[in-house]
Amino acid sequence: MSVTEQKELLTKNKQTLENSSRRNFLKNLGIVGGGLVVGIPLTGCASVQLPNTMDSDLQPNALLQITANNDIYFYLPRSEMGQGVYTGLTTVLAEELDVHPGKIKVKNVGAHDEYANPEYGLQLTGGSNSIRTHFIPLRQMAANVRMVIRQAAAQELQLPLDQIQTDDGMIVANGKKWPYGAFSEVAAHLSLPEETPIKKKSDFKYIGKHSKRLDSVAKSTGSAEFGLDVEFAGLHRAALKRCPVLGGTVKSFDDSKAKSMPGVKAVVSIFNGVAVVADHYYQAKAALPVLDVQWELPETLSDFSSDSTEAGNGKQLFKDALDSDEADNAYQEGNGREALTTSDTVVSAEYWAPYLAHATMEPMNCTAKFTGDQLEIWTGCQNPGVAAKLAAFYGDVAKEDVTVHSTFLGGGFGRRIANDYVAEAVSIAKASGLAVQLIWSREDDTKHDYYRPATMAEFQIGLDKNGNIDSWNVKRSGPNILPYTMDEVADAMMPGFLPDGMVDWISKAGFSLFDGWTVDPTSVEGLFEDYDANHKSADHVTVDPGLPVGFWRSVGHSFSGFFKESMMDEVAILQQQDPVAYRLKHLKHNPRLANTLKLAAEKAGWGKPLPKGHYHGVAVHSSFLSYVTEIAEVSVNNGQINVHKVTCVVDCGLAVNPEIVIQQMESGILFGLTAALYGEITVKDGAVVQSNFHDYPMLRMHESPDIEVVIVESDEAPTGVGEPGLPPIAGAVGNAIFAATGRRLRSLPLKLS
């Protein structure tokens, strides 16, 4: 583009900024009050360079607003679910805007394409990529804004630009100070510069230093609003009776008793069950037991029982698949499996991980209200964009007529990527003609999840005559997640229904990352990448009993971290080598992971005496572009596993908010420890057996270990922290149990009896 063309576009863009459609647009986003409003076209921004903000086709988009009152609003494009983006992204923005993060007012946003995740093209929060993908674009945008405010000040004060400095939200010139807001109006009429230089690390004031969470006060006083807290006049509560076997539908129902229960306003049948709408939740819930529903059961899943030992059922289904010749190749390096024929020794073992529920503390819920053809929904979810489209479909309204009000999420962990509760709430509101808040009970939540897929895998590790790994081969059997993700949107069964970007996103995940793969990458991720070997192969055989599966914190890594690290331990011990030293030997091509291992061994005192009866186990794993080592200190008494301490070293590049990185490591470790020690969802005749925290227990405070987290100093770009803390923990504990007892536990959850 020539300079003249650029100038033309600048002018055009300026006009766009001023015209009324933009104002409407901003109003639709819930942004009112004027002042300087800026957005960034994050969409499709795969490289670190900002796309041309002056592109004439640019839809205005809005992330930042500075009012004449000097209120600085940041419209948070990602969902805050505990992982800390509310603080993290604000810190990133604040750095280049030169304002203390605490002075920025952060708003949860509704659904709009402009809030798309740069990597997915969807308004999705997941995959531990929020900080990584916004790190440069947000800073560039903020730097441009700071520049335009300086330019406005220069114009107004009639001073050269270089005499206009900034300090914590103030313009500083001639020894005087003015708030940014004093120039916001003028700045709004200037063209936004594009490529203002961004700061060097050595100039950072907040990045790497600021750690105070900006949502702590609200969350410590009960004033943070979650989906369940939504309230307005005329709101009714709904409870839904769903088929015990997931995927079942209503054949017939008798609501005569339920209708006469106190407070009940309506009983309606929707796509997956029968709902009771009442004045209060306890009334709706009380009516469910007297609601008589006959179900049309889904065939495949109804025949499945976890404890069945029959061929083609239970674990045997996975085992048969693994033992069959069938397999799709997911990865091949060197001669792959063929190299086994020339190995000196082959070490094999088979591992198992069960289905798991997410069990977010806040059960699923959604509030829906129709006003004529307008539909509003309130929910905390990980992808408001898909929620809006689902709502439009189930509400039978145009997508433009749907408004999403986002709240904080009482935990996400991947569960709130699916929006089944949105489809349900909208369907109930539509059928009953009432504004409803659908509340899931804990039992609903446990029994109607998109579960972490159960998985079986077999390793065959070929060793050379020196006992070093020559070939690393693994085969996995289990369900793929992608079809279920697609299912939610494809459920609507209309061609135009797929959200823009979804198709892209899927092909991206499938192909741009791993060229030529035919397997859902999350099915095999983490099973084979970390260690050096001359030959590698990863194979996959799909087997699926039909229980819906989804993204569960760290996804494939949630099982592969355990499998791979237990296997590595087996090999090291068989070779009578120290597990740390043997791992280091095979991490020559993975120096950052090796470094975390060295540091962790040092920190934990690996090889040094421990209290009597205590043993160390180690595991390393890289995921979401971060590198983590964990060393668990464990004792076993009468079959009881006690985890005393976990030492964790993480290399996540530059840590934007170091304390939040530590929190996220602790969080991942405790989440993973719950899975390692207790987590198991089983199925009987197609129905999930577990129901609440008594039979699907969570780690409690007295069971949680001391945790020490060390962050590797790094100048590399920031990478994920929400998930990478989880994958190593089960392996570290399992390996410590082996050290303590000589027993190798190859199934999760870890049980000695």
Binding site: S220, T221, D229, Y281, E666
Partner: protein, 179 residues
């Protein structure tokens, strides 16, 4: 009509006697700080102080609290005026998703009202009824110790908000207020 004291004010509620206190407070009185997590007394998200004792209100029939003193998170402090524990919570950056935190703070308040120098074990015992799926336990522990140290030095108090005005937020079922 059942009457009890909520955050210092008497409230009268027209709800069946077996209605769990949690839903009376959340839906009839529209105080949303106390959360619903399990409905079986297993997670502690619904904790309120009943005469100073941290209690699971999802299984507490409202008739059982007639004429008793109930304190919710809103009665502990608010963003403008936080209790010592809430300050320690913010200083320690305890909350992650935040959903369990009202319950955690209620249980910690009950603990510190009895013991201003709790050991790790005392904390474990007092807090074992409060689940946190995000794994904030290490910071919960730190914050409790920090608040206890402040209280021992005579800094701050366990409860700063005494009065709740349900008329400000009343739903139709709220039948008036007596002091």
């Amino acid at each position: 009509m059942i009457s009890f004291k909520l955050n210092g004010q008497t409230v009268n509620v027209d709800a069946p006697g077996d209605t769990p206190l949690l839903w009376v407070v959340r839906e009839h009185l529209t105080l949303k700080g106390t959360k619903f997590g399990c409905g079986m007394g297993l997670c502690g998200a619904c904790s309120m102080l009943i005469d100073g004792v941290s209690s699971r209100t999802c299984i507490m029939p409202v008739q059982a609290v007639a004429n008793r003193n109930i304190t919710t998170i809103e009665g502990i402090g608010n963003p403008q005026m936080m209790s010592t524990l809430q300050n320690a919570w913010v200083e320690t950056d305890v909350p992650q998703c935040g959903y369990c935190q009202s319950g955690q703070i209620i249980s910690a308040t009950a603990l510190l009202s009895q013991n201003n120098n709790p050991s790790d074990n005392d904390i474990d015992i007092a807090m074992s009824g409060n689940l946190c799926r995000c794994g904030t336990y290490p910071n919960v522990k730190k914050a409790i110790k920090r608040a206890a140290a402040d209280l021992r030095k005579g800094k701050g108090r366990l409860q700063v908000v005494q009065v709740f005005d349900p008329t400000a937020n009343a739903s139709p079922e709220t039948q008036g207020v007596q002091s």
